[in-house]
Every structure is written in structure tokens, then in C-alpha cells.
């Protein structure tokens, strides 16, 4: 009697296991897997959002169209400029800030919190604040005019293409620099103390300690931060969308996510929008895969 009961207990547990995971599987099927497969499907079809006609198979036509479309190539360029222009300064500055914070004895927590404060705001609010700062009469122009000793020069933050791109980069940089600083601070904090002590006993100064001990050991964190920052930048939408609705020119900051949105919702071209989504997916898949690989290996680096 007894062994049989034990067997049914195992079975009962297995059944409960399935019961516990089924709701999530159903939701994922409807809201993740199906849409993903559907995006693949639609990207090879021609479909209008508003028409009831079934999608028509067009092969690779959507993709070949995209690679000849000036509008799409423009948004690839914009996304690339934004991503490189944001993540490299983010990486460098947050690493410097973290190293500086770790080298002082007091106010470490204060500086971390202060740098992080902008991340508390939602992206739309952040963009709204900067919209006023970049106003022709705003404090961005006033600040630069004071700095350069000029008066009344308008830098056209929200109208000249180059400046407009720079403006979106500044908003993003401002919002995320504190977050990545904190990631670096915890990275530096996890380097075993005795390594620094050994270096200092060997007569290294603080610069050498940073350059030969901290920096090499921080490589996994650096890699992780750069991939995370890159993924964030590739997804950027809110800042550009808010600036454009406020009247800034679309072309210089029409990034891929915006282009997908406009193509699907304004032009009703689901096929093209899906093809763009798939391309974005492939790029981000690559980086997410890298991130998972890196974050897995990160824990064993001080062996």
C-alpha cells in the first residue's frame, strides 16, 4: 500500500507543477509567441491595417522594398547615430563617475542618489522638461551664451538636424547616466579588497591601481553595461515622439521604433512594419543573447 501512495504523491506533485505553470504559458502563447510568429508571417505578406482582405503573399518584397527605401535607411541611420552617440558617452562618463565616487570617503551614497534622480522621472516627463530647456528662450541657450560670453545666440536645439539629434541624446544621457553609474559602482565594489591592498603594498599609486587592477577586472561589467545601454538606445521612442509632436522636424530623429509605429498606424502597412520589426528583432536578439552570455559568466571572473 505504502509505495503506491508515494508514487501517487509524486504524480500529484507533477500535476500541481503543471497547474502552477499553465496560466503563464497560456498568456505567453497569446501575447508573446503568437505575435512573434505573426510578425514573421506578416513580414512576407501584404496587408492593410484597415482592410478586411486576407494578407497576400509577397515573398521577400517587403524586405527588398525596405533596403531601397530612403525613409527606412534614414531611420536606420538615425537609430545608429542615436545609439552610438548615446551609449559611448554613457559608458565612459558613468565609469568615470563610478571610479570617482568609489575613491572618495564621504558622500558616496549622496552622489549616487543625485546622479540617479533623473531616472525616477518617466521618459515623457524628462522629454517635456528638456523641451522647455531647449526652447529658444530657454536655459540651454542662456547657459551656452553665458559660457561663451555671447548674447542672444540661438543654437536651434529643436530645429537644426544635428542639434535636434544632439538634444535627444542629451535627454537620454541625462536620464540614464546615474543608473549606469550605480551598476559600475556595484561592479567596482565587488572587486575583492585584497587585490587593491596587494597592489598598494607593491607600491602602485591610485592611478595605477585603477588602470591595472580595477579596470581589467571591470571588463565583464563594462561589457554588460554597454550591451544593456545599447539595447535601451535601440528601443528609444518617447523622447523622439514627444519632440516631434511638439513640432520638431521628423526626419533627423525618425528612429526605427517611430518608423514602425508610423508605418503601421498612419500608413496602415502592416507587412512593411512587420518586416522592420523583424529586422529590429534580429539586431536586438543578437545583443540580448550577448547580454545573457555575459551576465552568466560575470560571477566567475575573480577566480
Amino acid at each position: 500500500m505504502r509505495p503506491k501512495q508515494g508514487f501517487s504523491m509524486e504524480q500529484k506533485k507533477a500535476r500541481w507543477g503543471w497547474i502552477f505553470v499553465t496560466p503563464a504559458l497560456i498568456l505567453f502563447s497569446i501575447f508573446s509567441f503568437y505575435p512573434m510568429l505573426n510578425a514573421f508571417y506578416e513580414s512576407f505578406h501584404n496587408k492593410n491595417l484597415l482592410s478586411l482582405r486576407p494578407p497576400r503573399y509577397v515573398g521577400w518584397a517587403n524586405y527588398t522594398y525596405l533596403f531601397q527605401s530612403k525613409d527606412f535607411l534614414n531611420s536606420v541611420k538615425n537609430t545608429a547615430i542615436f545609439t552610438l552617440g548615446t551609449f559611448i558617452p554613457l559608458l565612459v562618463v558613468s565609469l568615470i563617475l563610478a571610479a570617482f565616487i568609489m575613491s572618495i570617503k564621504k558622500f558616496q551614497r549622496f552622489f549616487q542618489m543625485a546622479f540617479y534622480a533623473p531616472a525616477v522621472l518617466s521618459s515623457v516627463v524628462a522629454a517635456l522638461i528638456w523641451l522647455l530647456i531647449f526652447d529658444p528662450r530657454g536655459i540651454a541657450n542662456q547657459g551656452l551664451n553665458t559660457l561663451f560670453g555671447t548674447s542672444g545666440v540661438n543654437y536651434n536645439w529643436l530645429s537644426k538636424p544635428g542639434m535636434l539629434r544632439l538634444s535627444t541624446i542629451i535627454v537620454y544621457f541625462w536620464k540614464y547616466v546615474g543608473y549606469f553609474t550605480i551598476v559600475f559602482v556595484s561592479g567596482i565594489g565587488s572587486i575583492p579588497h585584497n587585490l587593491h591592498e596587494a597592489a598598494l603594498i607593491d607600491g602602485a599609486n591610485r592611478w595605477q591601481d585603477f588602470w591595472y587592477i580595477t579596470f581589467p577586472l571591470l571588463k565583464p561589467t563594462t561589457l554588460l553595461v554597454s550591451i544593456m545601454a545599447m539595447i535601451q538606445c535601440l528601443k528609444t521612442f518617447s523622447t523622439q515622439y514627444l519632440f516631434i509632436t511638439a513640432g520638431a522636424p521628423t526626419r533627423p530623429i525618425n528612429v526605427i521604433t517611430l518608423n514602425i509605429y508610423y508605418t503601421a498606424i498612419k500608413d496602415h502597412r502592416i507587412g512593411r512594419a512587420s518586416a522592420m520589426s523583424i529586422l529590429l528583432f534580429l539586431v536586438m536578439f543578437f545583443f540580448t543573447y550577448l547580454q545573457l552570455k555575459v551576465s552568466k559568466t560575470e560571477e566567475v571572473t575573480y577566480m
Partner: protein
Amino acid sequence: MSAVRPKSWYLEKLAQVFIWFFLIAVCILVLIPLLFMFTASTMPAIDILKLPYPWFSDHFHWQNFWNGLRGPEGDFIFVRNTLNSLIVAVSVSFFTVILSSITGYGLAKFKFKGRNLVFMLIMATMMIPFEAIMIPLYMVVTDMGLQDTYVGLIIPFVANAFGIFLMRQFFIPFPDEVLDAARIDGASEPRIFWNVVLPNAGPAIATLAIIAFRAQWDNLLWPLLIVQSDEMKTIPLYITKYMAETHSDEGIMMAVAVMASLPMFILFFTLSKYFVSTEGLHSSTKG
């Protein structure tokens, strides 16, 4: 001895001065926009556009906040939209915590055929960025007749792979003896989960709840796709429509910005432990 200082001592001091100078300068630069938001929210628009910007005004122009609350047509649509944001963010946060705990518990504490496959499938969804599936997702939700509803705003975000991963990792070290003891006492599995397991998951729940809440409070893209009526708008939609599109009074704009950030500042100052420390993986979740 101490009178003769080596060259490196001066270099060290110089470096220290530079480090402090740099940190303070960056700190000021980072905080200026925030200070601008707070000060401008208390000024009439004419003062905000004065050259140079008067950083501190002598009287508190509270009308900005009142007019911000009343909205452009005086129908308090901003209050309604704030309520929507709260409803959506709190619901997503609540259901994400429940579903992630249930699933994470199932994956951590029950052996069944196909468990690894289920776990891998769920983790695979982390690779799918929301931005890449938003259009098909929009069609799914519209086909279900859920556009312009709370359910439509909430349901796509409830199943959260990162949340499930977090809870699973949290439950794995939970002692099996405690669970078995409860089983011998005759408690049913749902009861064990609810009364024994869940009450012990406080820190993980707090972390996950805050991450989910923030993601929805910040969400512009999804509401933009599926909300049509003004009554169902959330704060980010309200701001893009009434603050950016129809250029509003600058003072009101900043008052709205302050009010829209208030819940986040409250969370930040009360729960900063959960707010900052555990965010490392948050970028790979959708939303």
C-alpha cells in the same frame, strides 16, 4: 619628517581636489533640469520666459497646479488620466507578482516532465523585445475587442519572464521540509502556496512590484497604440497630447510634470532600497 612631503603627496591632493570638483560639477549639471522643473512649476509663464531665467521667484504661483488638475477644458481630465495610470500600473504590478510567484514556485519546487522545456520557453520570451511585436500584439488585442479598455492596457504585461525568473531563483532555496510538513498536515497545494510560501517572499515581491509599476507608469508606446478616447488616456498620453501637441502654458506644463512624477518620488524616497539595488536585469524585460 612630516614637513618634507613627497611629490606624490601633492599629486594625490591635486587629484582629490579635481575629483571633488568634477563630481560636484556633474551633480549640479544633473540636478539643474530637476530644479528647473520644480521652480518653473511655481511661476507664471511670463516669468519662466524671462531672460535670464529667474531661478527663484518670491511668490508661489499655485494656480499652475490647480489649472493643471482642471485640464485644458476644465473637466479634470488630468485627474481621470492619473487615475487610469494608477489603475493600470497597480494592476499590472499586482497580477505580475501573483503570476510570477505561482509560476516561479511551480518551476522551483515541483518536478514534472517538460519542466526544463517550459522554463526555457519562458526565458526565450526575454529575447523578444516589445517594440518588435507591438504591431501584431496590437492586432491580437484589437481582435479580442480590448482596445480602449483597462484589460487591454494591462493583460499583455502580466506574464513577465524576468519576474518569473526572479521568483524562481528566490523559491529554489526555500526548505522542502517546510512544504512537506504542511502537506502531511493535510494542507492543499494552493493553500501551502498562499499561506506558507508567499508570505516569505516579501523582498522579491517588493522588487518585482516596483519594477512592474515603474515600467507601466512610464509606458507610452502601448497606450498610444490601443487607447482612443480621452477618458482612457494615461499620463504619458495626456502629456503628449495636451502639453506637447497643443502647446500649453509653460508653468502648467511643469506643474503637470511635477504631479506626474510625484508617485515615483514617493516610491523613490520610501523604498529606495528596492528601487535602485536590484535593477540590474530590468532592461531585458518588456515594457
